[in-house]
Symmetry: C2
Subunit: 209 residues, 2 copies
């Protein structure tokens, strides 16, 4: 359907909103008209929150998680086990694992997953930083062994990425584990219920003791 | 689910986005992270389109439709019948009727519908402007009769609003009509609700008198 919009401003707004994933032009029109029905201050508050997110967000220098400062609240938390590193694809996955309340270690956000079809290779992710981080930790004298938990999706790309990281960590004296697959093959972390996901953290499989 | 966000900026953006109708906190998070993954220019373009809509949009002084100027493209169109006024609830309804390509008259946008439950009374709508507009048109000497088509929803609120407008126009020498109600084009009798089917029988079209 090629809509004819009564206003160029409306059309521009609808096109901007429908550029969001999963938002069609009909929903975008509904949202644009909703915003138009709001007081201007509300609309400005809305756009300001989004602009500030884009302009001011930081990434934690340790785990690459988004954060309000250079070091995220999890990495700054002395009560967490900084030698157990849960490797995840995205910020959303950190939030999913945190929601289970089952994990007291820290994270490493890859920022994606190895996907040749989407042109994403290892160098587009934070794998190098992970290896450096693990390498530095495992070089500390007299400290407990480092464990890397590969908490990636169970699909081919996730498995490929896990295997790639496993190989990269190969020479380091670290324990490497992966989420227990109580989840169905191909399930995303994002959509897993937190009980199942929590079990998967607790019952992680040991790949290399 | 009370999510714990890793960043106040992210939380603010998610809260802003989830204030949109039909967008839950999970979708809002997905959208916020999508925006975060975009180049800043794209995000600014997105928010600017929305800000401009809120700040710069005009309403047509004749039909109350949103417009880029004080008079919308439909009201400015000399080829349209300015004495046949289709009364609709919203901008979306104008677009729906325009998409049919069947209507060559003009519109009047009420900006809502009478709904005591939502605290919307006649004075919150553009009914007064409609009556003034129709009154001025029907006072023109020697011009054809004005027709007001009530194109409102078929629910109680729509019927109430239609009836209220019908009463307000009562003393003016204008024709008042309403959208035909009946089965949709191509609908099966079998699956039609009995209220609609009943209306279709009562208001049947006469092919041969």
């Amino acid at each position: 359907m090629t809509e004819k919009y009564p206003s160029q401003l409306l059309q521009d707004a609808v096109e901007a909103i429908s550029s969001l994933p999963g938002v069609g032009s009909r929903s975008a029109l509904r949202l644009a008209l909703h915003l138009l029905g709001q007081p201007k201050e509300n609309v400005h508050h809305f756009t300001q929150a989004i602009n500030r997110l884009a302009d001011e967000v930081h990434y934690c220098r340790e785990c690459m998680m988004i954060s309000d400062s250079d070091r995220c609240s999890i990495c700054s938390d002395g009560k967490r086990d900084h030698r157990t590193i849960c490797v995840v694809e995205s910020v959303r996955d950190v939030m999913s694992v945190e929601n289970t309340g089952q994990f007291r270690g820290v994270y490493h956000v890859l920022g994606g997953i190895i996907s040749p079809i989407n042109g994403i290779g290892p160098s587009d992710l934070t794998i190098r930083q992970l290896v450096e981080r693990v390498s530095a930790l495992s070089a500390e004298e007299g400290a407990p062994q480092v464990e890397v938990i590969l908490a990636l999706s169970g699909d081919v790309e996730g498995e490929t990425t896990s295997f790639y990281i496993y190989r990269q960590l190969g020479s380091l004296p670290v324990k490497v584990s992966a989420l227990a697959r109580g989840l169905g093959f191909g399930d995303d972390l994002e959509y897993a219920d937190s009980l199942t996901l929590g079990r998967s953290i607790v019952n992680r499989q040991i790949f290399k003791p």
